[in-house]
Each structure stands twice: as structure tokens, then as C-alpha cells.
Point group: C2
């Protein structure tokens, strides 16, 4: 669907919404279906080829509406109101289109926290089962959680919220910034010797700084043997696993207790839409999410899966990865620059060969120009520029234009500063 | 704005969005404004009378766009992608219109938790300041938080997440289910005598079961004297405070450390949009919210404030309260029924004079009919029906129709069951 078709479909949707709200009182306010009614109405899997938009729209009445509680019907007097007005809907349409992220980029943060809370519960339960005399209050203060020093800041914050010790596992450039089994094993042994109780490890597939992948085939069996909850944060990289060629990055997933990725990052579903899997449902009950309420987020996922089809989604991921490779080639062809981390998906970490100062100045110059926008990261103490493929509409010409701008500014900076 | 105007404005918005996305690369990707630039561009207060929609739309370019980072520009290579596609936007429009709440009704839950975490931090900091030798790990296990036995379940859950003791303060029908100062004072003294550290009290203005209001003019000074963080959960009732006649319900707010209400409940702003105030900004830094990212929610609030004006919003609240009073009169005029709690805002708690069984049967019969939808609550062990004014479009005729249905079913039930 392009902008031209969106103009048409958007207007149809506006009419559909107006019709829905004008006639809402003719609908049965409370659904007369059993949980699971959807299963027989929709296919087991997302379509390989896109569905037609007409089919999707037809299914709104056939599939979705029979299960909806009509909160805005004048026959609805349950709970408390949930607001709804035409101006708010218009603003929300615009907000969805602007699609800017308020503070940073993730509700994977919540998945990390939720998994940690479930792990804390499980750990306390197991300890009390083996030693019922032990006072429960003392257990939490002995618990220790781990993550990579490359992990997202939300992991540390989750530990702080839950009031448990959080330790960062050091990574090395020579290991491609991935956590190694040996390092985790050693830290666990040291902590156990000191009387602590290791209970949670947050592995990352596709770290924020450099898109590094922790070795979960090594780490998983260690966690399982030590009864440590292994949560996998694949917030960004997770979307790529719909392509068979990237699936090997997921090897070891069978050892995980929980897994999260953000469909709102790289799978064409507007913010926010974060997905989480858990191995044992019962571990998570009571902790599904922090807020009680949630938006009807799966609706947009369903539209996207159907309108793109698996193939369309795969093409989209592959195109971004190709564009990243194209940018990598441009960087490698220029002797003044270096690539700072393996380019696996849609992120290229690069820098001028030279001081941090020269790279900081380059980035400042780039962003002050306001033509393109990049953010940095620190890798082994080096100031590195992150070139992340983001927009749905990015083409090869944008990449080349960006590179031209970067090299031009680099030239200026190198003439001005010692490097 | 009615459905007819929405048809027109919605289609204009679709074009505006398509124009925005088709031409996004001509925009400056990263804003060239200083924090606070908005202040001089918008009025200090929401308009008393509605603005015109044309004015609102004009301000999108004048006010909003200069501050936007265009995450979907092909010149944006920062962070990671945030997804955006036409089908997802269409689905989100529909999702906003359906506006059903996924699980229950609140992200006030998050405010409660966030306030509790800040309170925990502050308490630990104060204790360590007065006794630097004390081990930090022991402090949390001594902390105790309080809330009414009428408080939302999310309060208890917040305590569980933060790993602190949570105590429920009993309320009485004779006190209109409000927490009394004397009860709180006594519990604090008992807990302190037992070596515990009271640190947090969540007061409710407008409880979920019966819309009861805790006596914050009494409770506030006690909390302040004991250095207990007082959080006020006004998730539902908060919207009514835009009407001067309901403002006295807020007396004592000056003692609160934090305050929350959900604009998405009763202020015409689509789900989700929860607002929180905190007395001392620095107490909350690092805890603003659980997820890192957030949607651009203030946009819809701005549209709604401008398109309704303060007057329009006040009229809306007053209309719901009047409809609730109308329903209350119908109940009071029928000797078989009784009102179970004061009707202050848009909630009427009522029951058949008789057993819980007869009331449970009545509610089941009502909901099975699927014409109207109500949920129950328990008040002093009595099964009570909650009639909450919810829909934007509810009129007097819907109230009368609902009452006719209820009395008709009540008659059937009373003939079948002893009561």
C-alpha cells in the first residue's frame, strides 16, 4: 500500500469508523462468544503472499466484531468510562503517522522487568521449597542478576526496580562484544562462593550499541543447569528472524525461559507493539504487564501481516540489510574510515581512524547540518558512529547522499583537527 | 465535532498524513529548537470556548512540526527503526475508534508503582542519611506501605513488584468507605512499635467499587508529619475536577507528594492517556515510567482541549453526573431497590433489597440479555450492581430504557427466587 492507496483506504476507514460509531447502539454490547472463538476463523499462519485489502476489511465484521465488547455503546455501564472523541481520534491518526518516540526506543524494557519479576518469584519459591524455615525477607537481598555490559540500560533499571543486585558481564572486541559462556560460568561460581544466589540472566540478540549477539547456545545450558532464568532481549533483531537466512542467530532459543522482540521496531507495525514469549505460562501469571489496561495492539499487527504477507515482510528486512551492506562497502572503500563491528543486520558502526575527539566533532557537524541524523556509541572506549537503517522509504540514493555528506564533513573536520 | 464532521475532517487528515509522508524528506530531519520553544507558541491555559478545527490544523505546522524529530525520514539513521506502515495506521485508526480496553481499566497502575518506587528510594535515602552504618539490604524488608481496602488491585501489585509489605486499611459503610485519619494513625503507631518503617500511603479519590473519597485533609498532615509519601489515585474522579463544583473533593491535595488521573477515562481523550503530577521533580527522576518509549499522547489531549474548550469538557462531565442522578432517582423511587453508596459523580451503586444470591442472579440475567452491560462490586459483604455512565453518547432515553430492562428482569428473578 502506497500513499495514493492510503488516501483512498484511509477515507474509507474514516467512513467505516463513523458508520461504526453512529450505529453502535444497534450492536450487541457484550460479545456472545467463547474464548478461543477466533481460532477457527483465522488461518494458523500469516499469509505467504499479501491478502487483498478488501479481504481484510471484510474480516472486520466476520472475525473481529463478534468478539468486541463495545465500550462506547450507550448500553455499556460497566467498570468506568474509557474516553473516545473524534478530535482525539484525529490526533491519534496524526500521532501514528508522525510516529516519533517520546523518550527512547523500547517497551522491551517492560518485558525485561516482567521476566525479572517472574524469575525473582520463581527463585524465592524454589528456595523456600527446599528450606521452609528460611525467612523470605532475607532471600531477595542475596539474589543476583546478570547481563552483558552491552545490554540496554533498561536491564539495570529492572534490577533496581525489583530491588535485586545486578552485575554486568564484561565483553571484548575480540569476541565481537558477545557474552561468552566461560565468563558467565566464572561469575556464577564466584557469586555462589560469596553466598549470593544467581537467578536471572538477560541475554541480548542484537545489542543496541553494535548489534552483537550473545552466545546463547553456550549460555543457555549453563543457565538451565544453575536454574537461572534466561531472558532473551531481541528488541531490534527479533524481526529479522522471519527470514530463514537469519534464523541461525536464534540457535539456542530452546534454553530460554522468555523471549521478547519489538514488532514496532522493524516489522512495519506502528509504535507501540512489543511481543513476548514465555516457556512456562504459569511462571508469568500475575505479572503479564505493568499497566492493567492495554490498547488493541494486535489489530495493527494483523493488518500488517495480511497486507504485506510473509514475503513482503521478508523483502523489507532484506532490503534494509542490503542497504546496510551497501553503506558498509562505501565505508570500507574509504581508507580514512574503519568499520567498528560486524555488520549483521541493518546497523553499521563506523568511525574515522583517529581520536575520539575527531569523531565526536564529525558527529556534531553531521547532526548540526540537520540533513541526516545519527547517534553514537562507545565500543571498547572508542567513540563510534551508528548508521542504523530506519525509514521504510530509504533507498540506495539516500545512502549514497548520506555518505557523500559524511565524507565531505569528515574532510573539513580532518583539516581542522589533528587526528 | 459529530460523526458527519468527522467524516470530512478524517478525510482531510488522511490527506494531511499522506502529504506529510510523501514529502517527509523535504523536512529538516532533526529539530532546530531549544527545549521550551513551545511555551511562547501556545497559550498558558486550555481555551474556555472551543477553538475552530481550522486553527488547530494550522497550528500543526506552526507549533508542533518545528519540534518533531522525523523518525520516518529517509535521512534518519539514529537509534533503531520505529515501524510505520499504512496498514498499521489504518488498523490503529480502527483500534482507536473501537477503543476497547484489553484487560481492565487503567494505566493509573503504573503511576501508583512509579510513586511507590520513588517513595522507596526516598525512604532508603533518608534512613541511610540518619544512620550511615545501617546495611541497605535490611531496610526494604522493614518498609510498609498502606492503602484503603477499597483501593484498586494495582496498589497491592505495586507493593509486590517493589518487594515491600503492603497493608490494607479497613473502611466502613458508616464512613462512606473512606479511609479515616484515626485509623491510619493507629496502624502507623502499631507498625512503628513493631520495628517497621511506614513509607507510602496511596489515597484514592473516587474508588473503583463505589467512588468513595478518602479524607485527604485528615490523612495528608499525618503522612507529612511521618514523612510518608502520599500518592493520590484519582484515576476516574480526576477528570471531574475541571468543574469548580467538584473541586472541593480535591481539598487536601497540598499534602500530596504525587497525584494521578486518567484523561482516557472521562475526559474524552482516547485510551491511553494517564497524567501524573509530582511535588518534587527530583524524587521521580529515573523513575518517570516503566517503558523507555512512549507514544506522542499529548497530541490527542491538545486536540481535545482545543476542540471542546473547557466549557465543552465541563458540560460533558456535568451531563454524565446528571444522568447518574437521574438513574439514582429511578432506583430510589422503586421500593424493591436500595442505593448502596452516595452518588457523587457518574457511578450509581444499587441492589435489590434481598440476598446476594438474588442480586447475583439479577446481574447474570442482565448481562446474558446482552442489551446492557454492568459489572458488580462487593460493599461490606453485599453484592452490589455498579451502573457507571460510560459512553459519550448516552442520553436520558438510554438510562430509562436500561432501568426498564433492569426492573423487568428483577421482577422475573424475584418471582423465581426467595429474597
Amino acid at each position: 500500500m502506497d500513499a495514493t492507496e492510503f488516501r483512498r483506504r484511509g477515507k474509507e476507514m474514516v467512513d467505516l469508523i463513523a458508520d461504526y460509531l453512529e450505529n453502535i447502539e444497534q450492536r450487541t454490547v457484550y460479545p456472545d462468544v467463547e474464548p478461543g472463538y477466533l481460532r477457527s476463523l483465522i488461518p494458523e499462519e500469516a499469509p505467504e503472499e499479501p491478502d487483498t485489502y478488501e479481504d481484510v476489511v471484510k474480516d472486520i465484521e466476520r472475525v473481529i466484531m463478534p468478539g468486541v465488547t463495545h465500550w462506547h455503546s450507550p448500553y455499556f455501564y460497566a467498570y468506568f468510562p474509557t474516553a473516545n472523541s473524534f478530535p482525539a481520534m484525529l490526533a491519534d491518526m496524526l500521532s501514528g503517522a508522525i510516529g516519533c518516540i517520546g523518550f527512547s526506543w523500547g517497551t522491551a524494557s517492560e518485558a525485561t522487568l516482567v521476566a525479572l519479576l517472574a524469575a525473582r518469584c520463581r527463585a524465592v519459591r524454589m528456595i523456600l521449597a527446599s528450606d521452609p524455615q528460611r525467612p523470605e525477607t532475607g532471600i531477595t537481598s542475596k539474589l543476583v542478576a546478570y547481563s552483558s555490559d552491552q545490554a540496554h540500560c533498561s536491564v539495570e533499571r529492572a534490577g533496581m526496580i525489583a530491588g535485586v543486585r545486578m552485575k554486568k558481564i564484561p565483553t571484548e572486541q575480540s569476541d565481537k562484544y558477545a557474552v561468552q559462556g566461560e565468563t558467565l560460568r566464572r561469575m556464577i561460581q564466584e557469586d555462589k562462593a560469596a553466598g549470593l544466589i544467581p537467578f536471572y540472566f538477560c541475554a541480548t540478540l542484537g545489542t543496541t550499541p553494535s548489534c552483537a549477539f550473545d552466545h546463547i547456545t553456550e549460555l543457555g545450558p549453563i543457565c538451565n543447569a544453575e536454574k537461572i532464568w534466561m531472558h532473551i532481549d531481541a528488541a531490534y533483531a527479533g524481526s529479522s528472524f522471519i527470514c530463514p537466512e537469519f534464523r541461525p542467530l536464534l540457535n539456542g532459543i530452546e534454553f530460554a525461559d522468555s523471549f521478547n522482540f519489538n514488532a514496532h521496531k522493524w516489522l512495519l507495525v506502528n509504535f507501540d507493539c512489543s511481543t513476548m514469549w514465555v516457556k512456562k505460562r504459569s511462571d508469568l501469571i500475575g505479572h503479564w504487564q505493568i499497566p492493567l489496561g492495554r490498547r488493541f495492539r494486535s489489530l495493527k499487527m494483523w493488518f500488517v501481516f495480511r497486507m504485506y504477507g510473509l514475503k513482503g515482510l521478508q523483502d523489507y528486512i532484506r532490503k534494509h540489510v542490503e542497504l546496510a551492506k551497501e553503506f558498509e562497502s562505501l565505508v570500507r572503500a574509504d581508507q580514512r574510515f574503519e568499520i567498528s563491528a560486524d555488520v549483521v543486520l541493518g546497523l553499521v558502526c563506523f568511525r574515522l581512524k583517529g581520536s575520539n575527539e575527531v569523531n565526536e566533532t564529525l558527529l556534531k557537524r553531521i547532526n548540526n547540518g540537520r540533513k541526516i541524523h545519527l547517534v553514537p556509541c562507545l565500543l571498547s572506549g572508542q567513540f563510534v558512529l551508528r548508521f542504523a537503517l530506519c525509514a521504510r522509504t530509504t533507498e540506495s540514493r539516500h545512502i549514497r547522499e548520506a555518505w557523500q555528506l559524511i565524507t565531505q564533513l569528515a574532510e573539513e573536520v580532518m583539516q581542522e583537527l589533528p587526528h
